[in-house]
Symmetry: D2
Subunit: 341 residues, 4 copies
């Protein structure tokens, strides 16, 4: 049964495995002090045209979010996130477990605006409530949408003005930056956000996220936080080698572009069949709304996530494509879908 369940169903892109094999017997220091990690960090800085950022390699998204946010905030400060935000509903209270409340904001498209955040600030005037301090956004969002440059600039300016930390979860940043609707570049981000991460796990790596800390005051002692939360890998080279391979040339972007292309084929054909979508998603996750009976049939042949009920007879499902999605499987899926309609 072919799976459109997520973008981490397979292992790693073959070039990444090759890189691990080739470097395997070189002796290196541990905990990210190996040459591969250090070169990867330098390469990433180069790719974003900024030598003044700090970059740390971590294992996964929840780990990165919880370490970054708990390192950045003082005990009484809170994060804010769209109600669809990953830290709110899919990380088992990881942020709260470090002592910080996450304030939920209802949105229509998974994206936060200055007025959304202003409303939270207005509702938290004094010490009887937490102090809202960090704005958590995802790009692409958990429902597939992306921030365009103008939106991100506005949010960034608002945060700077209000002394808020702007943090971007980039678990699917590759897909966002390679979307046909995107007008942001990797090199724009250090200017616009205070910290963000470049997701490797969902874009061809075995594991690995590269956290970029842009704001100076957030940089100090970050490796202490990583160690304390169990994120400094003895064989940190595992992370370094992968990011080195992903960014040595255009591999990272090529993989994301492939995932997007596969999603686009799905989206276009499904649209042509007059099937509506739950959200506007120009990235590698799409959310078609199908009759329940059709979903039941599809589940016999394909793995995917049931997303939510829409009305009595219809529900949205989530289809995710990745660097590993085969075009012939996409075509076969569409044919199957048409047959079932």
């Amino acid at each position: 049964m072919y799976s459109f369940k997520n973008d981490y169903s397979e292992g790693a892109h073959p070039r990444i495995l090759n890189a691990l094999i080739e470097s395997n017997l070189v002796q290196e220091d541990g905990y990210g002090e190996d040459q591969f990690s250090q070169k990867a960090v330098e390469l990433l800085k180069e790719r974003m045209g900024r030598t003044d950022v700090d970059i740390h390699l971590l294992s996964g998204g929840t780990q990165t979010n919880l370490i970054a946010i708990s390192a950045f905030l003082r005990p009484h400060e809170a994060a804010m996130a769209a109600s669809t935000g990953h830290i709110l509903g899919h990380e088992t209270g990881a942020i709260e477990a470090t002592g910080h409340k996450v304030l939920s904001i209802e949105t229509v498209n998974g994206k936060l605006t200055p007025s959304d955040v202003q409303a939270v600030l207005d509702g938290h005037p004094d010490e009887h409530m937490v102090k809202p301090k960090l704005v958590y956004i995802s790009n692409s969002t958990e429902i597939g949408s992306i921030y365009n440059q103008s939106e991100l600039v506005q949010l960034s300016e608002f945060c700077k003005k209000n002394h808020l930390i702007l943090y971007m979860d980039g678990a699917r940043l590759g897909s966002a930056l390679c979307s046909t609707e995107n007008d942001l570049q990797l090199s724009d981000l250090p200017t616009l956000v205070d910290a963000f991460y470049i997701g490797g796990t969902k874009n061809g790596a075995l594991i690995g996220e590269a956290l970029v800390i842009c704001k100076d005051s957030l940089k100090e002692d970050f490796r202490y936080h990583m160690k304390q939360k169990g994120a400094l890998l003895a064989k940190g080279r595992l992370l370094g080698t992968q990011f080195l391979e992903l960014f040595r040339d255009n591999l990272f972007f090529d993989l994301a572009a492939h995932a997007n292309k596969m999603a686009t084929i799905l989206r276009d054909e499904i649209s042509k069949a007059n099937i509506p979508f739950l959200t506007h998603s120009p990235t590698n996750q799409i959310f078609p709304i199908l009759p329940n009976a059709l979903i039941t049939e599809l589940e016999k042949h394909y793995a995917f996530h049931f997303w939510e009920k829409v009305d009595t007879d219809h529900s949205a499902i989530r289809l995710v494509t990745s660097w590993a999605t085969k075009e012939e499987e996409v075509t076969a899926f569409l044919e199957n879908l048409k047959k079932l309609m």
Copy 2:
């Protein structure tokens, strides 16, 4: 410069990389629900002759320790450890960061005895102090010693009688179990300790520790704790595939035996040269005491850890061997050492 700095200087044993390559494009569910992880867990249960334990695969030692200990203890309860214990001095307060004090116990050889623990219990009679609840031991210890069966049985019985949780850090369990002085078997552990982990990272894996929870009351909801602390990998298959390969046959033990053999050659030859050792270590870490001038010379040719000053003119260094240590490098080191003496 050849390194005896640690047992994680290289990548993974080639068979492990092969296993990753062969399984790479199979689609699997995430977060440890893939077939490789599930088979690895079954295999491990088989190897220890116990189907009633729970086994979870995690990324590293600090992560495993902090998740296990914080999941096992209530907020007012404390861990106890030898002052040399890894959780005390080398994990950046990871246990305290989850809210729990770690009580330090001075020992001569890195090992805890019932009377050591009894003394802590005696010193903590009421609610004005933490409640000592979990006994943390390492096998092999951080200074290379191991628990024999009789010692572990005594400690185990003491803990059961006093309603204490006995937890074994097995970062180097392979080396302990393969020591020529060892009389414990993997299958003894579920009976003797309440939880322990089998270290993969320091015995040939890229990353990976297998936590075995033996006591029923500690099992419930453990995956919630893993997720909350950022330890559920999206591609959990990375851990499963490795443990499957390590325990498919005798690989895990063969690798540890090789590391021990290399350490034995070093130890025997260094002893013959009338060089004393800081500790009695029958495992893959040894601590010869050398003249400071000699150490300075050695450092020009080899990488290793300076351990501690012994007297004005002598210091102990740490030499660590691994599955990847080459016998010719051991021989060369010994020759160099003799030349320098």
Copy 3:
């Protein structure tokens, strides 16, 4: 300027101060082991007809909530509360600071029903989300409403069936139990909830809340949690003496009844003037909806809380009465109000 801002504007009822004076020079043990605290605990058990509950005296509501909830929950478990719940919006993330998420539930009247809680359970099926475990309710609620017996019985049965902990914040329990609409008795509570507290601070004491733990599994080692969070007062007698006086006869209930009576006069007269209320509140907090201009005038003569905007021209204010509210001041307020209308 007379204040209807809250029920803790004055010090303590004179009988309480007298009790402190009379017992002042008796030497006693510290930390709640004095005779006054112990007698108070026995007396409270007698008043609720249950000798099998555990009772602890603490300083304030936030302190009691955070210690109880963090002692009762394991790290991955969450509390649930009405969105108006005190722990959600007015305790500066105190619960999250102990590591636990608080899930917010929208309600119409500040009260939770089984179906409210069921919906949260349905939305939290697995380890990628927190495990909802504790139902936090307030009686009276933060908006003045109360649970009747039937509502509480239903919620209690639901919680028992679903292995949930039911915890009642009783900061204003006196006012709730003395409401003319109430059909619950203090002695009903140990059967219906797993833990609750009897608020002293807002009912005539200087400080003090009596936490009653009814469920056996929640009792163990509770004093450790109190000490760890800074709640074991060296002069615990300060709390014991006050509760002894409050419950020696009917003082606690007399004081609450007076507060309610004063609120009733306000409510009845304001109603007669055809002024609507934001919520149905039969207790000592009422929320009349007044024209904004009128509120501005009233603020020149009285202190009270602005509660929330209702429409362009109207807003709700909060008027709180207490054991210390003077009837002549209530009368004067009503006269003033009428003049300003």
Copy 4:
């Protein structure tokens, strides 16, 4: 049975109770925003000749320590304390419960020196260990000794040079400052330490400690931390009224001087009987070493703390005097002691 167990066996000094009575029915705002608290804060600033410090009133020592230390430190930073320090052994892991390790330092007299702290810094060079950041000292110490000016100046300079926070637990600051051996003044402290508290509970108040934050960077948002940890009392006036009375004239110092005087009588007479002491203590706690049989006899007539075994036949006990200790009881005790010898 007369008690020398501690300095909080009685209630409050009568003048304090009077102050509570006199102010009782004045309506005031809550949470420390009442006029009494605000005047107390102003008065305290005046008494130490510094208007630029921030002062907050809290309920007890453990509460003050845990809130201050957790507010001052970032998650990876640790406190250092003498092994006799209250936060190490008598606060049930309160500091660790906020996530911070407390590093223990062995001392002879309960006091820390620059070289003690330097040794800890030397042992914590990198991110694999916590970062030692806050030096916790007590004055008087838990074993009755005091810092003289020269010692405190040296420690202060060392901390400034090493970017360490110097925090003084002043649970018994009154007794320290009124010791005949003391050469420090209250007004010296804001220059020498970054924060300290003036203990009220053990010097005549019902409850109450006044935390003085001297270093600017530690001041921001402190009330948030107080609220989050349950320390903002609804009737904050309870604290304000007491400190106002204690510092309105010389009451605070008079009470401490009386306690010291009573201790001095005990110390002098016990010394004359050739009974040795465990520590040099010029304050209100003394630790005579007595034959075990004599202690058993004394326990029939007096309440006091057994402190520790000294040799097979002798042990140290702790005798504590307070503002409430009666000279005739001191005399009677000494007579009894002599009879029993």
